[in-house]
C-alpha cells in the first residue's frame, strides 16, 4: 500500500516538462469551459445559472455530495476494469453493454428472490460479475478464435445487450414486474428485496451505499495488482510489446483473456452494485445503464490508465452527473452535461499529447545542434 503511494508521489516530481504539462492542462480546461459557456449562452440561457445548478446539485445542497459519491462508485469500478484491459493492450470499449448485462444478471437474483438473506446480495453481485465477464469473454473468444477485432465486437455487443435487457422486461416470467389489475406502462422489474440491498453509510446527513468504499478498495487493490504482481507485470509486457511477451513466455491468449474477463467482470459487478445500491429506486429497467459504462471508460482514458488517478476523475464525472439533475430544474436541457463532459475529455486528451510532441521536438533540436 505505502509502496503504491510512494511510487505515485515519486512520479509527481516537478521538472520543466511537468510544469509545462500543468500549464497546458489549465489552458485546455479553460478552453473547454469557455466553449461550454458559449454553447449555453448561444442556446439562450446564462452560464452562471448553469454553473450554480451544477454545483448545487453536485455538492452544495444538503445530502448532495453523498449522491455524488454514490454515482462515483460504478464509474470508478468500470474505470479500474478498463485500465486492466488497456494495460494488456486490449481495447474493450463495450463496458456499457457489460454493465447492463451485469445489472440484468444481478436483477435475476436481487429482485426475484425476495428473501431477507444477505447471502443473496453476495450471490447477486457475483452473478452480475459473471454475466459481465461472459459478455466481454464473448468478444475475447471471437478475437482469439476468429480474429474479429475486439473494438468492433464489444461495440456490437452493446447494442445486443440493450435489446436483450429490453426483452427480459417484456415478459412477466422473466424480470418484468406485473402488477395485477394495472396496465404495464412502466417496463421495469420489481424492487430489490430489502434484505439484499447494499448497506447505507451516513456521514453528516449524506448517505451513500457500501459500494463507495468497495470501489475505492478496488482502485487501490488493482493499482497494487498491476504494479506489484507478476500478473500485472506480464499484462504490461503484453500491452507494450506482444512480441516481447511471446519471447518471454507470456501466453497471449491466457493473459489477454484474463484481462478482458476482469474488465468485463468489473463492469458487470458495477452494474449489479448500482442496482443493489439504489439506482433508479432499486428497479431494473432497459435504460438502466444510462451511459455509466461509456463514462467509466472515459474516466480510465482521462486518468491515463492509472487506477489511483481514476479516483479523482471519477468524482468529477460523478459530480457532473449528480449536478445535471439540477440543470433541468434551472431550465437547461440536462443533455448539456453530455456535451460538457465530452469537451472536458477532449481537453484532457490534448495536454499530454502536446507535451509529448514538444519533448520529442526539443530532443531532436538538441541533437541537431550537437552534430
Amino acid at each position: 500500500m505505502s509502496v503504491v503511494l510512494r511510487s505515485a508521489i515519486g512520479r509527481l516530481k516537478f521538472g520543466r516538462d511537468q510544469s509545462e504539462l500543468a500549464l497546458l492542462y489549465v489552458a485546455c480546461l479553460i478552453g473547454a469551459l469557455l466553449v461550454s459557456m458559449l454553447l449555453i449562452e448561444v442556446n439562450g440561457s446564462s452560464w452562471t445559472r448553469a454553473l450554480n445548478a451544477l454545483v448545487d446539485g453536485a455538492f452544495q445542497n444538503s445530502g448532495r455530495w453523498g449522491e455524488t459519491l454514490r454515482r462515483t462508485a460504478p464509474l470508478l469500478i468500470v474505470a479500474v476494469g478498463s485500465v486492466v484491459a488497456t494495460k494488456a493492450g486490449i481495447i474493450n470499449i463495450g463496458q456499457e453493454g457489460q454493465l447492463l448485462v451485469g445489472a440484468m444478471g444481478g436483477a435475476f437474483i436481487l429482485t426475484l428472490v425476495q428473501s431477507g438473506n444477505p447471502l443473496m446480495l453476495v450471490l447477486g453481485i457475483t452473478l452480475g460479475a459473471a454475466a459481465g465477464a461472459l459478455w466481454a469473454g464473448l468478444a475475447g473468444t471471437l478475437w482469439y478464435w476468429r480474429r474479429i477485432p475486439i473494438v468492433l465486437s464489444t461495440l456490437l455487443l452493446v447494442y445486443l445487450a440493450s435489446q436483450m435487457a429490453a426483452f427480459t422486461l417484456t415478459r412477466g416470467e422473466l424480470l418484468l414486474n406485473v402488477v395485477p389489475g394495472e396496465p404495464n406502462r412502466l417496463l421495469q422489474s420489481a424492487a430489490v428485496a430489502s434484505g439484499s440491498r447494499l448497506g447505507i453509510i451516513e456521514v453528516f446527513g449524506n448517505q451513500f451505499p457500501l459500494s463507495v468504499p468497495f470501489a475505492l478498495a478496488m482502485a487501490l487493490g488493482f493499482g497494487w495488482l498491476l504494479s506489484r504482481t507478476t500478473w500485472g507485470f506480464r499484462l504490461k509486457i503484453l500491452g507494450l510489446n506482444p512480441r516481447t511477451a511471446q519471447r518471454a513466455g507470456v501466453s497471449d491468449v491466457r493473459y489477454g483473456m484474463s484481462a478482458i474477463l476482469v474488465s468485463g467482470a468489473t463492469a458487470g459487478m458495477a452494474g449489479a452494485m448500482m442496482l443493489a445500491g439504489g439506482e433508479s429506486q432499486y428497479k431494473f429497467s432497459s435504460g438502466f445503464s444510462s451511459s455509466v459504462g461509456w463514462d467509466g471508460l472515459l474516466v480510465a482514458l482521462v486518468a491515463r490508465n492509472s487506477p489511483l488517478l481514476a479516483v479523482p476523475v471519477a468524482v468529477v464525472f460523478a459530480a457532473l452527473r449528480s449536478g445535471s439533475t439540477f440543470l433541468s430544474v434551472a431550465g437547461i436541457e440536462a443533455v448539456l452535461v453530455d456535451v460538457v463532459r465530452a469537451l472536458l475529455v477532449v481537453a484532457l486528451f490534448i495536454p499530454p499529447a502536446i507535451s509529448d510532441l514538444r519533448r520529442k521536438r526539443r530532443a531532436l533540436t538538441s541533437l541537431t545542434e550537437r552534430t
Partner: protein, 309 residues
C-alpha cells in the same frame, strides 16, 4: 415455408429498402475503407454521419437547396474528421478514445442544439432512370430511387480509382501496410493518414446528408444509432477490399430491410427486440464465418512512431 422464401427473395419493396439502407452504410464504409487502408480505425464514423445528417438539416432549413445542403453535410463530416485526425494523428491521443468521445460529443450537441433550430426538411424527388428502372425485381431498387442516392454510384468507382490507381492512393496503402518503409522513402506517414481520415469524413458526411434527403426526410438525433459501427463491420467483413465492403453493406442492408419488411411479408410480427438486434447479430455471425479468411492492413490501428517497430 416455400412461399415465405419466395417472398424474401423476390419481394420488390424489400430490394428497394435493402438498397436504400445499404447506400447509407456504403457512403460511410467506402470512406472508412480508405481510412483503414491507411492504417487507422475511426469509431467516429458514427459522429461523422451524424454531423452530416445534422449539418444538412440545418443548411436545408436555412436555404432549401438540396445540393448545397448535401455539400454542407459533407463539410461538417469533414470537420469532425479533422478533429479526429488532428487529435489522433498529429497529436498522439488514443484513436479509439477520441472516436468514442467524438461520438458522445456529437450526439449530445445534436440533441442540445436541435430545439434551437426550427428544422424544416423534406425528401428529395424520385428520379427514375428510364429503361433501367423497368428491369424486373432489381430495376426500381437500383434505378428508381430519390436522386441523392445515386451519388454513391459515382463515389465507389471514384474512390477505387483514387486508392488503386493514383500515386496518392499507393502512398495511402503503403502507409497502412508498412509505415516505417514508407517513412524512409520520404512519405509523411501521419499526413497521409490524416488526409485519409478527412476523406472518410467527407464521404460519411455526405452519407448522413443523403440519408436525410433520400430516406428519412426528418432529422432525429437517434437516426444514425449504430450505422457507423455497422459500416466499420462491413469494411472488416469485406476483408479490406472495396468490393467486399460494398458487398458487406448490401448484406447488412438486406438484413436491416428484412427487419423492416418481415412483418408485412410474413403477415405477423416477430419479437421486436429480436428484430432490432438482427443487424448486429447478423454482423457478428457473418464475421464469425468469414473474418478469418482476410488479411488486414499490417499497421492497422497502430500509431506510427518513427524508429519504433
Amino acid at each position: 415455408m416455400r412461399g415465405f422464401l419466395g417472398n424474401v427473395l423476390t419481394d420488390g419493396p424489400l430490394y428497394e429498402s435493402t438498397f436504400r439502407l445499404a447506400a447509407v452504410l456504403a457512403f460511410a464504409a467506402v470512406g472508412e475503407w480508405v481510412a483503414e487502408r491507411a492504417g487507422t480505425i475511426n469509431i467516429s464514423v458514427e459522429a461523422m454521419l451524424l454531423g452530416g445528417h445534422f449539418g444538412a438539416a440545418i443548411a436545408f432549413t436555412a436555404s432549401p437547396n438540396f445540393v448545397l445542403a448535401i455539400a454542407v453535410g459533407g463539410m461538417v463530416g469533414m470537420f469532425v474528421a479533422a478533429l479526429q485526425a488532428w487529435l489522433s494523428h498529429y497529436l498522439t491521443a488514443d484513436q479509439f478514445g477520441i472516436g468514442l468521445t467524438l461520438n458522445i460529443l456529437l450526439l449530445g450537441l445534436a440533441a442540445f442544439l436541435q430545439p434551437r433550430f426550427d428544422l424544416d426538411t423534406r425528401l428529395a424527388g424520385v428520379m427514375s432512370i428510364p429503361l433501367l428502372s423497368d428491369i424486373p425485381m432489381f430495376g426500381p431498387a437500383l434505378f428508381g430511387q430519390r436522386w441523392p442516392m445515386y451519388i454513391i454510384y459515382v463515389l465507389v468507382p471514384l474512390t477505387w480509382w483514387l486508392i488503386m490507381r493514383t500515386n496518392w492512393g499507393l502512398e495511402v496503402r503503403a502507409v497502412g501496410e508498412d509505415p516505417q518503409a514508407a517513412d524512409v522513402s520520404g512519405i509523411h506517414v501521419n499526413s497521409r493518414r490524416r488526409l485519409a481520415i478527412l476523406y472518410a469524413g467527407l464521404l460519411s458526411g455526405i452519407g448522413g446528408a443523403v440519408y436525410l434527403f433520400g430516406q428519412v426526410g426528418r432529422f432525429e438525433s437517434g437516426n444514425i444509432g449504430g450505422k457507423g459501427i455497422i459500416a466499420i463491420a462491413a469494411v472488416i467483413f469485406g476483408g479490406w477490399t472495396l468490393r467486399g465492403a460494398v458487398t458487406g453493406c448490401l448484406l447488412f442492408g438486406y438484413v436491416d430491410a428484412l427487419r423492416l419488411n418481415l412483418p408485412t411479408i410474413l403477415g405477423y410480427s416477430l419479437n421486436s427486440q429480436l428484430l432490432a438486434s438482427l443487424p448486429f447479430l447478423a454482423t457478428i455471425l457473418v464475421m464469425l464465418l468469414f473474418a478469418k479468411h482476410s488479411r488486414q492492413p499490417v499497421a492497422l490501428a497502430r500509431p506510427f512512431v518513427r524508429g519504433l517497430k
